[in-house]
Amino acid sequence: MLIHHQQGHVRLHNRLAAAAFAIACAALLPAAAAAAPSPSPGSATVNRSGTSFLTATAVGVGQPVQVAASTGDYLYWSFSAAAGQITEIALTVSLPPAGKRTGASTWTVDVFDGLRRRQACTAGVQTPIAAATATSVSLGCSLRRVRSWAEPWSGDPLPGTYYIRLSVTDLPEPDLGLPIQVDMLLGAHGDSNADDGELKAPLVPRVKPGEVMAEAGSVHPSASPSPTPDEATEALDWLPDLSARWIWTTVGGVLAAAAGVVGFSLTWRRRK
């Protein structure tokens, strides 16, 4: 919806339609895309980070993160993203004093989805090189828009948990273990398009230890039970979820009716 709005099929821009649409969905339009992530007021600062996928610290959008660590640590955070969301990650690493360092270092921010699959950054400096004399280095990553559904064979971003890993991927060995400070902030924008399919279970990974089943066939899979569909809900499955499409289509119907009346009156006006 926003994309259409912004890219603006200006050629087809119809003043009447624009006015009607603006009235109809001014309230539903989310604010225009934010430029850079900014901390949301009142959110508590996170002073922790995990050291593996399993121990990743959960952070929210707009929640500032400030962690003291050592050069060479692998720092993990996780956040959850909903369909339609575009997440932006902004990281700043305050480096140890230049006098203690011996050379340049390469820093990397990697993002993984709930299945630990690598996610691409569409913008942002993902692997900056900090010069030997630099005092800090900034990293950034804008993720792709989260899809509401994708084929199992695809690697598209889906709703669920995402992991962020900050690491230093190349540096002179004597520079390892020096104290650093990491500041991170997540920003998110975008709107949810509920009409492109639905993922039944978000990509939220299990953290409980598993159980090896004794014999093939002797035990039924203790998988999460598929939800038993409510009869009435089942009967309504054909109805699309509420989304911008409802507004567009309804406005279109209203416009068509109005145009119909106009067209009808045109043919009668001549007689007067």
């Binding site: 929210g60 050592s70 299945l115 273990g177 949810s192 089943m213 035990v219 106009v262 067209g263």
Partner: protein
């Protein structure tokens, strides 16, 4: 419209009620998506299982009290006094209930006999909810004396921490390299990690030289721990505090231990959950997962680089049918310094067979999907060393069918087409009515 038997008049009110609540829910949820992401949510919320609190993590500080700790090179103070002060501050700041123990090495034997000196390691504070006064007294009594049997101390610390489901962390603080190899402390660390009981060794070097740093880095890498160096008392205190805090937070249950098969047939059958296993370089490990027709398989794997490996590497996770046909694969590759290399996959049977009546079939028998994990690492480490550790996460959820084409439209073009169509229809209707009225009047 798939109405069937429920589309009687009686069902209409029910449908309206359900649709109203469903829409209300959507209206309420839709705009709050942005809001809900602001509030931190537990990333690992698992609605299917009851919430269990994992046992508190157990931590042991291992302090080197060998002769070299007498060196007065940290802001003019001896290393041991700096370490003692840092320990005191950490003990003071410990939250109640933390299970913390302290072990020392090279603390008692003053002689020159290496064989004797290299067995010199004792636990001075048992792993238990910490008794502050007793711990401080034990720390204050330490005098730097003997050798540096790091390997033996690590083995001892692993024993002190016992077994159990809780995460176990060793924080090793030393200033000098191991003077008692064999056993090489790095081999000991890898051997301890290979026992399958989740054990992490974080290392801290006090004003370390190149050799010490390399040894500590090796120990940390072998167990998935971290390495830090401390050049000032403040750095040391801060870092120990950081490590204790981090250990306290990691209340994750230890993944289940499993040994993968050599081929698909007879491979262990896994239920959803997290597992750990080890795999040698170029080895293949097989597992099977039962997946019903209406279910989706999700699997992810993270191989840890616990040793020095060649610069470029890769991991491959494949799902195959029982007959060896490949269903889907996940792969990732990289180069340079990293801790783990991960990939994952999703798979579900194409479309559940709608025609077959589920009431007569009963629950469909699950098919076994095979998972095989392979890697393309290369390393100069002895080939008889235990394999690279990896973590395998299995989940089986309800399948998500492909969406139908949307029944609604959007965009300016849609509005234009509808308006033009309306205009034309109106005009046509007008002319028709005019023609009809004209005909009626003449008659």
């Amino acid at each position: 419209m798939r109405c069937g038997a429920v589309c009687g008049p009686a069902a209409v009110s029910k449908i309206i009620a359900v649709s109203t609540s469903r829409w209300l829910r959507t209206i309420l949820i839709g705009p709050t998506v942005a809001l809900s992401t602001i509030i931190p949510t537990a990333a690992h919320a698992d609605e299917n299982e009851p919430v269990e609190t994992a046992a508190p993590p157990r931590v042991e500080l291992v302090l080197d009290v060998s002769g070299s700790m007498r060196a007065a090179d940290i802001d003019g103070r001896t290393r041991i006094s700096v370490a003692q002060q840092a320990f005191n501050e950490v003990v003071d700041a410990l939250p109640d209930g933390t299970e913390l123990g302290i072990r020392v090495l090279g603390a008692t034997y003053q002689g020159k006999d290496k064989a004797k000196g290299c067995t010199d390691t004792q636990q001075i504070v048992p792993v238990a909810p910490v008794d502050r006064a007793a711990a401080k007294a034990a720390i204050a009594a330490l005098r730097p004396t003997g050798f540096t049997p790091v390997g033996l101390a690590l083995r001892g610390a692993a024993q002190d921490l016992g077994t159990g489901e809780a995460t176990r962390r060793i924080i090793l603080i030393t200033d000098g390299e191991d003077t008692c190899a064999p056993p090489d402390p790095c081999d000991v660390a890898r051997e301890l990690a290979a026992k399958g009981t989740h054990l992490v060794v974080d290392t801290l070097g006090l004003a370390p030289d190149d050799k010490v740093r390399r040894q500590l880095l090796c120990i940390a890498a072998a167990t998935g721990g971290t390495y830090a160096s401390a050049q000032t008392p403040a750095e040391l205190t801060h870092r120990i505090q950081q490590l204790v805090d981090r250990a306290k937070d990691s209340t994750v249950k230890t993944p289940a231990l499993v040994a993968g098969g050599k081929e698909c047939a007879g491979a262990p059958l896994l239920s959803p959950g997290v597992y750990t296993d080890r795999e040698k370089i170029s080895e293949h490990r097989w597992y099977r997962v039962p997946v019903r027709e209406d279910q989706e398989l999700r699997a992810s794997v993270s191989i840890a680089l616990d040793r020095q490996v060649n610069r470029d590497y890769g991991v491959l996770l494949r799902a195959t049918a029982a007959d060896g046909r490949e269903l889907v694969r996940g792969t990732d590759a990289g180069s340079g310094r990293t801790d783990v290399l991960s990939t994952g996959l999703r798979w579900s049977a194409l479309e559940p067979d709608v025609e077959s009546d589920p009431s007569t079939d009963g629950p469909t028998t699950p098919t076994h999907v095979c998972l095989v994990i392979s890697n393309s690492f290369a390393s100069s480490t002895a080939s008889d060393a235990p394999g690279l550790p990896f973590e395998l996460t299995i989940d089986v959820v309800a399948t998500s069918p492909a969406p139908d084409a949307p029944g609604l439209g959007r965009g300016w073009l849609l509005l234009l087409v509808l308006t033009v169509a309306g205009l034309l229809t109106g005009a046509l209707a007008g002319w028709l009515t005019r023609w009809w009225v004209a005909t009626w009047r003449t008659n």
